[in-house]
Point group: C2
Chain length 101, copies 2
């Protein structure tokens, strides 16, 4: 899985809502805030299953209803289509939940 | 739920295996390393259910098979029995899994 080309970056990254490039790393970050811990961890569980199926896993931290996510592809030392697709999974699973932001 | 007394700290904290006080916060920390993501997230799921039942939640981050945990009681501004008991749950759930450390 190669790193995204400049053309792919220009097309794919702006299409990801709420995701921002991480300073000093070729990675993207987003903060998800849910209604409570039950929602946050329920979402994490859906993501975990999708991540395992893709064999591509997030770096993430959780405190109560907040989840901070960083995506990058260690083997490629930067962003690949796997990161874009996992980000899309995460956004799709969060849609319709009572996120505060 | 009051903060632990000095006597309780002296008795309870050394009995927690692998947990260390966090510098600059009245909190405890432990790193759990499992065999793979499936084990790590399976363990997190058991902990999440226990945490929700206790209405006492961890600060934790996960990268693949590693989970970093910090426990403290925000309402008490420090360590309480809830933290000790959640730490004990975490250790009990991890026992018998293929942890590397």
């Amino acid at each position: 899985m190669p790193r995204l080309t400049d053309e792919e970056r220009a097309e794919m990254l702006p299409a990801l809502e709420g995701w921002a490039l991480v300073e000093g790393r070729d990675a993207i970050h987003k903060t998800f805030v849910f209604g409570d811990f039950n929602e946050a961890f329920g979402w994490m569980t859906r993501v975990a299953i999708a991540a395992e199926k893709r064999n591509h896993h997030p770096e993430w931290s959780n405190t109560y209803r907040r989840v901070e996510v960083t995506l990058t592809t260690h083997a490629a030392k930067g962003l690949t289509r796997n990161d874009v697709e996992l980000a899309q999974d995460m956004d799709r699973f969060a849609a319709g939940m009572s996120q505060r932001r």
